[in-house]
Amino acid sequence: MKINTQKLGRYLPLYLMFLPGALYLVINNYLPMSGLVVAFKDYTVREGLFGSPWNGLKNFEFLFRTPDAWVITRNTILYNLAFIVVNNLLGIIFAIFICDLANKRLKKVYQSAILFPYLMSTVIVGYIVFAFLSPSSGMINNGILKPLGFNEVNWYFEAGYWWVIIVFVNTWKGIGYGCLIYVSSINGIDPEHYEAADLDGASKWRQIRHITLPSVTPTIITLVLLAIGKVFYSDFGLFYQVPRDSGVLYSTTNVIDTYVYRGLMKQGNIGMSAAAGFYQSVCGFVLVLTANFIVSKINKENALF
């Protein structure tokens, strides 16, 4: 007990520093959790959040009622997995390229250029894509396919192309962010490792494999785990604005968020909206725990908790 008090005294300033953040977390992230009960309620204004009658799982029914349930869950998960793989892989590759640039100024230019799309609103990205794909005035149909003698493609009515388009657009837009994190983590590697490797005559490829990659592994794992927690969420704009809400494309562009938005936008049913959010967060929570468990089995040190 005595030791504990001593310890507490020693760490007290640290705890005090931690307090505002913790309070913020409790107020902002934990207290609203009690609102999740509304997902199981037949909500009425008069009886309030906690007084309204329970209605079991009725609010969840709409999510699983049609064959769409399978399509939207499949799309959400597969897209996110594709995003995780492509973004991290390309992010590391680009980061290595950028770090090996000798010219300092060019390094900055490339780094900013690659980050720029990330700062753009998805609505604008949607219009850029439209400028390429529009049936009436799009660059690809009128500028490439037609002059070369190919048939025009009605992009917004052919679902088959869209998984490529979505992944491409997401990579184009998002790669800068991951790249930035990897650049900073590569810059943090002690240059002495590379100097020693150079002396021993290690090739560039060997340096990457045996120095760079092992050093950024913790960063990769953190980023992947964070992304896995969001596998059941999706960038709404990417799936709604970019395909311009074209119904014919739903088989490859409909994800849980857009499904919920389209189904509930007109009705404004609070219980059902909460049910959808509840479903996403519980699935995300389970996924993070599983992924972390797997990581800790392989390498305890790299696990988040």
């Binding site: 504990n4 705890y15 913790a22 409790v26 934990y30 207290l31 959790m33 009690s34 909500y43 009425t44 204004v45 008069r46 009886e47 309030g48 959040l49 906690f50 007084g51 009725k58 029914e61 709409f62 009622r65 049609t66 064959p67 769409d68 529009s134 049936p135 009436s136 009605n154 917004y156 009515f157 311009r244 809400d245 074209s246 119904g247 014919v248 739903y250 499904y259 389209r262 189904g263 509930l264 936008m265 007109k266 009705q267 404004g268 049913n269 609070i270 059902m272």
Partner: protein, 523 residues
Amino acid sequence: MIKKTATLILAFAMMIMPAGCGQRASEEAAPGQAAGGKYSAENPYHLVFAFPEFYTQDDAARSAVEKAINDKMIPEYSIEVEFLPLQFSEWENKVQLMFTGSDELDVIPIYFERAASWISMDALIDMNAYMDTEDGAQINSALGDWAAVGTMNGVLYGFPAKKESTQVGGLCLNADICDELGITEKYGFKSYDDAYKGSSHTWAEVEDILAAVQKAYPDIAPLYVNNADASLKTFVQFDNLIDSFGVLDWNADHDTTTVVNRFETGNYKNTVTMLADWYDKGYIYKDSAIDTQGDFALMKAGSIFSFACMLKPGYLAEKEATVGRRMYAMYVYDSEHTQNTSTDVNFYNTGIAANSKDPEMAFKFIRALYTDAELMNLWQFGVEGVNYQVLEDGTAFFVDGEDSSNYTYFQNSGWMMGNQYIGYVWNDGTKDATYWAKLEEHDGWADSSAAFGFMWDSTEYATQISALNNVKNTYRAALQTGSIGSAKVESTLEEFNNALYAAGLQDVIDEKQRQLDDWLSKQ
């Protein structure tokens, strides 16, 4: 040790939250005592009036108008009005959020598609309780048949705005091209000739025109079809019974009371087949299904020759100002009279939020919106002499030195809440004092649907409706703009209908029919 404490704190916090909220809920449940004589000019009822704004306002000018309204309302009605201006894009969600909080809120607009869910969450006051009062009688005489239209499952949740509701469909055409190709002479189009006179053109004539334009101007899309569901009405009429899942097939039989699946009817199929044929022939703007620019922008840019729309007197003058081109109106319709449905009238209603501390006073204010011209003019156009002036012909316009670019207060939203017809006609340069009369005459061209006044209560079917909405969104826009192409109409319709039934369409149709029969038996 620390971990344990943290857990305890969290658990404790979780316990407090529900308790706190429960208390608030029970307070709210306390019956609000209504007493008419409770208020006086010295002790007025404080009323919060929520409305969307369509034009940017100057805050100081708005406050001045609010004060002018109170200078009138406090002595006359013992009501002190507080404006709650909302942005159009977010008003539904804002109002819905306010229901769940403890905000003061009395008189609100209600959008018909939200009505069922707002009623089911007890957010609206049933105004039937006040219809026997003197105020109720005045609303009855102002609205006539329309006073009870905003009734769902016996709950009178709102009153429709008193304005024109009849919509006759047709085309708006680029006048210069019509003149040049001799279309004007052939069909007798005239500038600003947009009042419906009972006769109209056919879709076959339209097709001839589109073909002629395509030949002369291969770079201009002859026709633009908006991808919103409402634009189907230009081509074929159904009583959509709110959500279009289970409808009355008006074109087949004007008196029908049988609820059918709209997407299986012959009328629907013929329409989408015609549109697909036109799309294949290149008559329809290729981007229609995914367009977000809209007909006016495209007409202005000269990308399209015509667009399908709902016409009414004054339409051309209003739109020409926006588009900056001369246009002709062409009514296209297969019978003399058009249709009037509950949702044509009930699009936006005015009702009372359950938050209201004294619904009786809120009801009195709503009555004033329908009967008190002075209040309507103040709210709509501001203070006479400060914000607007009455012109010689009895219409209103901005005061000298102000126009639409430098005004300080201007709502012009009487078509959404209240009684538009008791206020001034706003003279934007195209209207005169007889404008209200013209609109009322236009309304005369409509026959009511057999289900006019019926609003079905979808509360128990929210699951099916949301699933159905998703199915409908998948196929509708591509079909209704023709973008699907002739080859795929048949198979897409079949797929569409199968998906609808899989999502529970039959349950909805059966329930609608049951509620409709029940409603009809009480008429």
